[in-house]
């Protein structure tokens, strides 16, 4: 019998891409991962290690070659509102305003109009966008657009919130603000979050548990529990020590002269 607290479960997951030019590319091999209700899990690893591939499988956009991927004990059949994705490029509908972008998911769920508006305004309030509800999304800043995208996902009341490098396009200031906001939203809603990044800083600031992946590896590379109390100070020695630990975990198998995270 499965633990009822487990929301996302991957067991012996493989994903192999077969392309004409590159042949077989075993991107994910024997991935085992359990994510419990309310957890904030960060997936970290260098570019090409398969983070997006894994997230896409959990979102239902892609299928594993073999192995099992399940949400709340049920095998994932395809995309749906129970596993909401926040895309790196926001992917808002430009012909709708901010509120309508949040409402459209509720509309697809069959929520009545007045109820929809009320719920949309509630989540827009959560992400601090009550004022901008009626503005066309293309006139919002990148950070605001990403908040709309988060609000849209939250409005679905998903079992898990999937975020694939959502703040990659933002500048350092906006990103820092969004990090704090996201932690606040996570605490306010109790959402289960899987967050993909390749930034050590982002991982240590956000995660309760950081899962490390390396390219071509069999299984996950390691796991780090971040038990540092919040709010976390990125300039504290504690924070730096955790970053180092994570860095060492990710680079343990590499020759000493390769610096994976050199900018």
């Amino acid at each position: 019998m499965q633990n009822p607290d487990v929301i996302v479960s991957c067991e012996g997951l493989d994903r192999t891409f077969v392309t004409k030019d590159a042949g077989e590319n075993k991107v994910l091999q024997d991935i085992n991962l359990q994510i419990r209700k309310g957890e904030f899990v960060v997936l970290i690893g260098p570019s090409g290690c398969g983070k997006s591939t894994l997230l896409n499988i959990i979102a239902g956009f892609d299928q594993p070659t073999s192995g099992l991927a399940a949400i709340a004990g049920e095998q994932i059949e395809g995309p749906g509102p129970d596993k909401a994705m926040v895309f790196q490029d926001y992917a808002l509908l430009p012909w709708l305003n901010a509120r309508e972008n949040v409402e459209i998911g509720l509309r697809m769920k069959g929520v009545a109009s007045a109820e929809r508006t009320q719920q949309a305004m509630h989540v827009l309030g959560l992400v601090g966008l009550s004022e901008a509800a009626e503005r066309p999304v293309y006139r919002l800043s990148g950070g605001m657009q990403q908040r709309v995208s988060i609000a849209r996902a939250l409005a679905l009341k998903p079992k898990v919130l999937l975020m694939d490098e959502p703040f990659g396009a933002l500048d350092a200031f906006q990103r820092a603000i969004m990090h704090k906001e996201l932690v606040r939203i996570w605490r306010a809603t109790g959402a289960t979050i899987v967050f993909v990044t390749h930034s050590l800083e982002e991982a240590v600031f956000l995660g309760e548990r950081v899962v490390a992946m390396t390219p071509k590896a069999v299984g996950l590379t390691g796991e780090l529990i971040i038990d540092m109390p919040r709010p976390r100070d990125p300039l504290s020695p504690e924070f730096a020590a955790l970053k180092r630990k994570l860095y060492e975990m990710l680079t343990a198998h590499l020759p000493a002269d390769v610096d994976l995270f050199a900018d």
């Binding site: 749906g80 994705m85 895309f87 992917a91 509908l93 066309p136």
Partner: protein, 297 residues
Amino acid sequence: MSVDSARGNHVVGQAATRQTPTAAASAAAPLLKSLKYGLLGTLMPLAFVAIWWAAVAAGFFPRSVLPSPFAVGAAMFDWAFGDPARGGYSGTLLAAIGASGQRVIMGYGIAMILGVAIGVPTGASKLLGALVDPFIHLLRPIPVTAWVPLSLVFFGFGFKGAVFLVALGSFFPIVVNTIEGVRGANRSLIKVGRMLGARGFRLLWFFILPASLPSIFVGLRLGMGISWVLIIVAEMMSVKSGIGYTLLDAYSFGRFDVVIAAMITLGLMGFLSDRIILAIEAVVLRWHRETSIHAEP
């Protein structure tokens, strides 16, 4: 030199007397600008008419073949406002526009509905695309005028045949641009639609159709242009009313003033209907205009 300095003085004077620009002044500026561009647009037609008038006055062409602009104007006036009791073309313009316009609206409307309704699923589904696409591209190169004999057999002389030709001709640009629009629609928007739980018709209606509207409007404009070409073909071949019929009828009587008046009417109708589509597009596709390369910074 002197003009420049005069203008410079004027600006300085203006700045001195009006230190805070009023709301009216800032609203008038874009109006003046658009008026300027509007006037610019009338320049070439006016020059054309002037050359035409001069060529006729100089006797380059026999007046029986190329009447002067004034004669055409007079014919147009009589066609529009003349007493129908006088017979001939007097006072029949509105009826002609009505007859042609009705056929265009019918045929174009059918093409629009069918073009979008067939184009969206054909573009969205690989299977349907493989099934329908080659057929459309096989039919498309057949000139619509080549359909006239079959149209006469099936629909006879009159309204139905004309509507058929207009619908057929404008269908192709609409359906092809709809298919291409759907195929070119942003992939991540479709991913979003599926994530939000939309399937089948609702995915097409709420996500794929709006995303492909910019391309659909290209097809709608092209289709409208073709509609006016085909209504004339139809009216010349098989229908006994409308602008095209008047044009051919006037030709057979050697009334070139009316022929040219009919040509001008057609030009204006085509221009007007294009402007109507553009006006609708400006509202519907505001998001697209503001996110495209034409957007003002």
